[in-house]
């Protein structure tokens, strides 16, 4: 049903940079060091990161632990100082700009929405990597835009001016734009921060559906540990730019993790849902 499922894997044998990786790793990063100009110490310095194919992986950690930086390095927004990032076994630097944007979508934390443009038109920009320099909108583009708008549940906003939307609606529209890219992998940087509870749930719902119905691999930075534990298939906990622990939420989210990584004394319970009750901040 979904176009994405039938897309052949692009890890072709002709590419010299192909490596052997875990069979189910969509993204595989090794010996990654990422910094910013003007900083001596790298912000991210970690040995191995695996984002399993067809699953939802959440990156969690306290402020300044390097979650967003790591995500930006995976999305080629930042160049890593050292290390390799492979998608489908192929080095990300080997992709062309548009080719890469057809493989991997990235919803940044900040993005501006110009005024005087309709929701439908903004979502339409998601088709950019599928078009040539002068190519206009094709039937295929229109179908992809319709699917994205439908999946994001913003059909009723289609002809609304983007500048008149609430913050939560605007985020759903930005997600729809990323969906219109129709990539196999989607990275999201704190997509729920600053949203009201209802829109937080809406956003998470859309991402879940995307993952379950279209098999899209999702890697998402989340601020809220409870939300991450409930929502994700895998958690990657970061501390000071390095991966502290990796695995299923119930294995990763422990009282030890909260103390060691987040500096918080808390109790963690697992019933049908994980429950984290923070008690007090531990001294540095």
């Amino acid at each position: 049903m979904s176009k994405i499922d039938t897309t052949p894997q692009t890890s072709d044998e002709t590419d010299g940079s192909e490596r052997t990786t875990d069979p189910d790793a969509k993204i595989h990063a090794s010996d990654l060091r990422v910094g910013y100009p003007g900083l001596d110490e790298p912000v991210v310095d970690t040995e191995t990161l695996v984002v399993p194919e067809g699953e939802v992986t959440a990156l969690v950690g306290p402020n300044g632990s390097g979650k967003s930086t790591l995500l930006k390095a995976l999305a080629r927004h930042l160049d890593a100082d050292t290390g390799d990032v492979l998608i489908d076994g192929r080095e990300i630097a080997a992709y062309g700009s548009k080719e890469f944007a057809r493989e991997l979508g990235m919803l940044s934390q900040h993005g501006s929405t110009p005024e005087g443009i309709m929701v439908e038109e903004l979502v339409g920009h998601g088709r950019y990597p599928h078009k040539g320099f002068l190519e206009g909108q094709t039937e295929e583009d229109r179908e992809a835009i319709d699917r994205a708008i439908d999946l994001a549940g913003i059909e009723h906003l289609r002809e609304t001016d983007v500048s008149s939307l609430s913050g939560g609606q605007r985020q759903l529209v930005r997600i729809a734009m990323a969906l219109a890219q129709e990539t196999d992998t989607l990275l999201l940087d704190e997509p729920t921060t600053y949203l009201d509870l209802r829109h937080q749930l809406r956003v998470m719902d859309v991402i879940r559906t995307l993952n379950e119905e279209r098999g899209v691999t999702v890697c998402i930075v989340l601020h809220d540990l409870t939300q991450a534990a409930r929502f994700a298939d895998y958690l990657v906990a970061l501390r000071d730019g390095d991966i502290y622990d990796w695995g299923r939420p119930e294995d990763v989210v422990t009282e030890g993790l909260l103390a060691e990584v987040f500096g918080v004394e808390a109790s963690v319970e697992y019933g049908t849902e994980p429950r984290i009750i923070p008690k007090r901040a531990l001294d540095e």
């Binding site: 100009p37 999305a75 080629r76 927004h77 700009s97 548009k98 080719e99 890469f100 944007a101 057809r102 979508g105 990235m106 919803l107 940044s108 900040h110 993005g111 501006s112 929405t113 110009p114 005024e115 005087g116 443009i117 309709m118 439908e120 038109e121 903004l122 920009h125 998601g126 950019y128 990597p129 320099f133 002068l134 319709d146 059909e155 289609r158 002809e159 930005r174 734009m177 990323a178 890219q181």
Partner: protein, 367 residues
């Protein structure tokens, strides 16, 4: 069914913005034609409107190969033309055409820079062009006083050099709108000071007036040679910028989003800036630094048709010439026999436009 009725509605709404664009284009064309008509008929040797109309619509002139040759190659006009026809076709018409080209180039250039710097109050001069061109003109006037014929090239070259300098200063393994604008301020400030200092080395009031005409922007004395100089870059740059409007739209979404969508942001930004600088330099070469046009026109068009660059560039293409033509009519005829630089008039029109915006929005943050 619901979907199809919605897309019909969407189509109707698209239409309304296209209709507003069409009204803007038609309005601009009417204003431009009226201004041009007044400009070619009036002056120290006024021609009655009826005679002007006859001269402008005379098929013997319009379809005469020698008239065209005079315009395009600089050969002499045929001697059978009436005195009115000669004045109109050799003195006043070229000024109208050059004014229109200046309007086109500045407006389109401003529109691009407002997208590249993601600042709706940016002008074509934001990346140092004005400082570079002004300094080059002053240097030429001080050190090569007789060589006024090189002024257009000096101005354009100065602008391009300043732009390269701005880019070099802003570059740090990449660049961004804020760094570019700051580097523009750095270069413009230093060059402007040097330029002001050089004014004291001008030894005649004629040179002083020439310098002022260049640094405020003037169309006094332009002829077909200036038209020929400006038309070539215009017909190359403007169509490319029109075609690039979809990319400008994506650039407006912010750097990170544009990159996520697969745009090679640095290349696109540099390429578009270079083209817009070329457009600005073209205007500067024939008219000097005419202010406010490149800032006001795209801004005004945006309030009418929205920020979609496919409409914005087209609207600017028509409103720019209309504004410069009207301003130049005022500059040339209002205080006869004294002509003021057209840049003085565009400034006087441009300032109150922003006052009007402030009153209407009541809040500058809404820009």
């Amino acid at each position: 069914m619901d979907v199809s009725s919605r897309s019909v509605e969407a189509y109707a709404r698209l239409d309304s913005r296209d209709r507003r664009l069409a009204s803007l284009v038609v309005g601009s064309v009417v204003v431009a034609f009226v201004a041009a008509f007044v400009q070619v008929s009036q002056g120290s040797y006024p021609t009655p409107f009826g005679v002007t109309f006859d001269v402008l619509t005379d098929p013997h002139i319009l379809f005469n190969a020698r008239v065209w040759a005079a315009i395009l190659t600089g050969s002499d006009l045929p001697e059978w033309l009436s005195r009115s026809a000669v004045i109109i076709w050799s003195l006043r018409m070229p000024r109208v055409f050059v004014a229109a080209l200046v309007g086109v180039n500045l407006a389109v250039s401003g529109a691009v820079f407002q997208a590249v710097t993601r600042n709706e109050l940016a002008s074509p001069y934001i990346l140092g062009v004005s400082g570079g061109a002004g300094l080059a003109v002053l240097l030429t006037l001080v050190f090569f006083a007789g060589a006024t014929f090189v002024l257009p090239f000096a101005a354009a070259a100065g602008g391009l050099i300043a732009f390269s300098l701005v880019y070099a200063i802003a570059w740090q393994g990449g660049t961004n709108p804020v760094r570019l604008v700051l580097a523009g301020v750095v270069v413009a400030t230093v060059f402007q000071s040097l330029q002001t200092g050089l004014f004291y080395f001008l030894d005649s009031s004629a040179a002083m007036k020439t310098a002022i005409a260049w640094t405020t922007g003037s169309l006094t004395g332009v002829g077909w040679p200036q038209f020929r100089l400006a038309i070539l870059p215009t017909i190359v740059v403007v169509p490319i910028l029109l075609l690039a409007s979809r990319h400008l739209n994506v650039l407006l979404l912010g750097e990170e989003t544009a990159r996520s969508l697969g745009m090679p942001v640095e290349y696109v930004r540099f390429g578009l800036s270079a083209l817009a600088i070329l457009a600005a330099a073209t205007a500067v070469a024939v008219a000097g630094l005419v202010g406010f046009v490149g800032l006001v026109v795209p801004h005004a068009v945006r309030t009418v048709v929205g920020s979609d660059y496919r409409r914005l560039v087209v609207g600017s293409l028509f409103l720019g010439p209309a504004l410069v033509l009207v301003a130049d009519v005022i500059a040339r005829l209002a205080l006869m026999p004294i002509q003021v630089p057209v840049g003085v008039v565009t400034g006087i029109i441009g300032g109150p436009y922003f006052l009007y915006l402030m009153r209407r929005h009541g809040d500058f943050s809404e820009f």
